[in-house]
Symmetry: C2
Subunit: 190 residues, 2 copies
Amino acid sequence: MARSRITPEREAELYEAVLDLLRTAGYEGLTMDAVAARTRSSKATLYRQWGSKPELVARALRHNKPVSIAEIDTGSLRGDFHAMVDRMDDCQMEKDSALMRGLAHAIHENPDLHQALRDLLIDPEMTGLDTLVQRAVDRGELPADNPALKYVPHMLVGAFIARPLIEDRSVDRDFISSYLDAVVLPALGI
Amino acid sequence: MARSRITPEREAELYEAVLDLLRTAGYEGLTMDAVAARTRSSKATLYRQWGSKPELVARALRHNKPVSIAEIDTGSLRGDFHAMVDRMDDCQMEKDSALMRGLAHAIHENPDLHQALRDLLIDPEMTGLDTLVQRAVDRGELPADNPALKYVPHMLVGAFIARPLIEDRSVDRDFISSYLDAVVLPALGI
């Protein structure tokens, strides 16, 4: 990959255009032609820099989340989880949840997209979450054999997707914060 | 509604055809013409009996779940939850989760479908779940002010949707059973 050929500003501008198109047209409706037109690039450049549409989409989504969860280290799992929420933005979460809804379907239809998202987005976030939880185990905050440990990602991802279906409302910081205190931490025995 | 004009067998056959078409063509691709052709009915009959495509789809999904959760009453919340899982079927759950994935997107695009699903499927299931939990509160199994009470639906629905995204596997009875014991019951303090 020769991504160094374009400036970081130009790269950010391009990713923003990809996310805008994803929100409005969906994954199927997003064409490399539209990205090229919108960003005044040539399709050849897009393919040379990103290889494929799934990788371009996965990198654009990854660009949205520049800070790794593993960098959070407040000294307690409760503190780490709430610091994670504090970094979120209500408006951004609403946009993210619209994107996720559209992508959940596209992922199933496009194995290449699923693989690219897994490599660039899902696995790194899961690893970051594991790091927070492992640190808590190492500090003695919770036992290594707590059966809820392996379900931390399910609890968090599930909350994001379930709320719009159940309550007709997208998630916001207040909801995630309350869910952490009522469900995630008690399930872990904290 | 004059649903009594057709036999229960015929009604079941029709709903099964609607669910098959939903799985293969998706909500957008499911047309009343296709349902009519597949079931050798006239479109006029379909509209007379069900009023609209969203209602037909919601009734077909509801037909899949003939037993109300509220009828489960084993004497303990742990028993009730596990009885709920025992009634499920691994193969059925895999089919349901394919349906839900397709519908999550369609719901967002079609407010009429969302309303019909809410009236016929989501609200009754939520009410059934509330009944189980309220009985446990009445028995003194858990305090009425437990902050996790209001998140029981989020925990359960979330587990169903999150597993395929995180683990690339649809849910089965073993997973839900383990999730109940590791997450849902401990979060409730049981």
